[in-house]
């Protein structure tokens, strides 16, 4: 059953002249600072497009749940008692209380702590205390918990949308499924397991993070301390992100815009494509020398492929609006307010159900945990400091524009292929111009958002 949502707020389309705010070469500061735009984004973006909610390995068994958010909506993402993945609004139908307050767990029934209404994990109401005090029929679907009507997974990544008219998830992802597949398929059976996270936040608009995730221009400046650190010892001078040194636009890496707001920074062409090629450029981590020698002793030449699994995959695969695969992390952007954003870097571990790693899986994961901790500790913190300083700078009301025109108007620099995929040198801002065009289109729309209740 589908309910039409109340359209009590001003339609986003009528808020502004969006063509004025988003121009070919620049955007207005208001898109980062205006609370009314942020409120509209919670429906037009974080309701109307496919929003990443979690990974299937976080709810491996029936009755498992995690609590997440879809925009500002609290959500219980769960696998119900029949195995179906659902995204329930974490909201009691009665008075609106959240039903579940834990980050994760396992439950067949959610009982509201306030008045004791209880629900099955399908969302169906189970019982209310002292029902003889009610004249209504609780079999009416309107008493069941509201849930996101469209929940779908792509190879373990769970997305959801409230938009009845959105394309299928597969169509929404489009060509970016190719780098996602490649990212997964370097692990045995293309599987990963989420293993906790580096959880960060910053005082700034969520789009500052999405502007950054495809950006090859900031690296040598924003991450200067990290690059100097990576080069402090001569024998590691060509590791880590050292391929950004010199002139990054003349390296084989590139940026790509892949439609529907998705963008992709592909640094793999900088790396020698061979067994052990990634490991050869992985910077030092706790245990590096021990594990490399131990695995080489046991597995000989086969150790190189295994060591590559502890190495960072040099890509940023960014699915609009809130999901990014980079290195071995799943990065999730979660807007909190117009000027506050959570950025959670979920770690991933290798899964080896068939034993193709010959018993090395625990060791390679121990090393992979340590390689993953490097960038959030030594790189991301500096980006987040810069995002906060952008938000402070944007308080200058009279200086209205933010520029993103690097590469614009230079003949032959930006290329479009037959599938509409746009590529440009690594430091180009074409990815930003393109995704923000899509953002504008979505903000000009009046999407039909619906919730579902079990019948």
């Amino acid at each position: 059953m589908l309910d039409k949502l109340n359209g009590s707020q001003i339609a986003s389309a009528d808020l502004y002249d969006w063509d004025e705010l988003v121009q070919e070469d620049r955007v207005h500061r208001l898109i980062y600072t205006d609370p009314a735009i942020f409120r509209a984004e919670m429906t037009n973006i974080f309701g109307a497009v496919w929003v990443y909610l979690g990974h299937e390995s976080q709810i491996p068994n029936n009755d498992d749940y995690i609590t997440v958010r879809m925009g500002l909506r609290p959500i219980i993402l769960l696998r119900d008692s029949n195995g179906k993945i659902r995204a329930l609004f974490n909201r009691c139908t009665h008075r609106g209380t959240t039903l579940c307050r834990k980050d994760k767990g396992s439950a067949r029934i959610f009982t509201c702590p306030y008045h004791g209404w209880s629900y099955l994990n399908t969302g169906k109401i189970r019982a209310v205390p002292w029902p003889d005090g009610y004249a209504c029929d609780f079999k009416d679907a309107k008493y069941n918990v509201a849930q996101v009507p469209r929940v779908d997974s792509y190879r373990g990544f769970i997305f959801a949308t409230l938009n009845a008219d959105a394309p299928s998830l597969l169509d929404y992802l489009g060509p970016i499924t190719k780098p996602i597949d490649e990212w997964l398929d370097r692990q045995p059976k293309g599987q990963i397991r989420v293993c906790e996270a580096n959880r960060l936040k910053y005082k700034g608009n969520w789009k500052l993070a999405y502007d950054n995730s495809g950006d090859g221009y900031h690296v040598v400046f924003s991450h200067r301390s990290l690059l100097e650190m990576e080069n402090r010892q001569a024998d590691v001078a060509n590791k880590g992100m050292s391929y950004y040194k010199g002139s990054p636009d003349h390296k084989p890496m590139y940026m790509a815009y892949m439609g529907n707001g998705h963008h992709f920074k592909d640094k793999r062409p900088n790396i020698e494509k061979r067994s052990g090629g990634l490991w050869a450029v992985e910077g030092p981590a706790p245990g590096t020398e021990y594990y490399a020698e131990e695995l080489r002793r046991r597995y000989g030449a086969n150790a190189e492929d295994i060591l590559d699994l502890a190495s960072s995959e040099p890509v940023n695969i960014n699915v609009f609006p809130n999901f990014s695969l980079l290195g071995n992390h799943i990065q999730v952007f979660e807007p909190v307010s117009v000027e506050e954003t959570n950025v959670t870097w979920y770690g991933t571990a290798v899964v080896d159900e068939d034993g193709v790693l010959g018993g090395a899986v625990d060791e390679i994961n121990a090393l992979r945990m340590r390689t993953q901790e490097q960038f959030p500790n030594f790189g991301e913190v500096d980006d987040l400091a810069n995002f906060e300083e952008i938000q402070r700078g944007l308080a200058c009301l009279e200086d209205e524009w933010v520029y993103m025109h690097r590469g614009l108007g230079i003949p032959g620099r930006v290329k479009t292929d037959a599938n509409g995929v746009i590529t440009a040198p690594a430091t180009d801002e074409a990815f930003m111009r393109e995704y923000i065009k899509e953002w504008k289109r979505l903000m000009q729309a009046t999407p039909r958002l619906v919730v579902q209740r079990e019948t």
Binding site: S225, E363, E373
Partner: protein, 194 residues
């Protein structure tokens, strides 16, 4: 004193399977009344070391601070309240000597924007309790870090588990586990050494 085969500033051989197993063993179920050391002089000795460490970190005297540690140490900031198994889950930080020296090097470049300008911190440590662990000593202390940076002061709090070992007549830190009370929540600018 034990001779090291490898310089732990340059390579990391000691973070291995046996090391992880010992680490987990040492940091499991260690705060037991029957292991508590109540002798005032011994408690005072470790209280003084924990206070000295807090002062050195507040003053960013990292070289002197590192000298309080054995060559092969771990600085561990778990990302979950029960700390978990660091082989199976990522931590907020899990630094061996080389990575800690990376961390300090980075902070000193002047280009670590998350620490430019630097935070001003003042640590308070209290509730120091000492527990026996064979010949080693495990020390629990509570901390409150007041951190001022750019637009205000914030407070980080939690408790530390130190593992001290005696080397050449000096008590040195082998492991420091820093447990933030909000370790599993999104943290703003976690760029200081806690």
């Amino acid at each position: 004193m034990q001779q090291l085969t490898h310089d732990p500033s340059l390579s990391s051989y000691y973070v291995n399977e046996a090391f992880y197993r010992r680490l987990i063993e040492h940091f499991t179920d260690w705060q037991k009344d029957e292991l508590a050391i109540t002798a005032a002089d011994e408690r005072d000795r470790f209280r003084a070391l924990v206070e000295k460490e807090a002062r050195l970190l507040d003053q960013l005297r990292f070289d002197e601070w590192l000298a309080m540690y054995v060559p092969e140490f771990i600085y561990w900031v778990p990302g979950t309240p029960d700390a978990g198994d660091p082989r199976r889950e990522i931590a907020i930080s899990f630094d061996d000597r080389r990575r800690m020296e990376d961390r300090i090097y980075r902070l000193r470049t002047g280009y670590a924007w998350s620490q430019a300008p630097k935070s001003r911190t003042m640590r308070m440590v209290s509730n120091v309790e000492v527990f026996a662990s064979g010949a080693a000593r495990m020390v629990r202390s509570n901390y409150l870090i007041s951190e001022f940076r750019v637009d205000g002061t914030r407070y980080l709090s939690g408790w530390c588990g130190h593992r001290f070992v005696e080397r050449g007549g000096r008590w040195q830190i082998e492991v420091r586990q820093v447990n933030l009370i909000d370790c599993d929540q999104n943290l703003r600018n976690p760029s200081i050494v806690l």
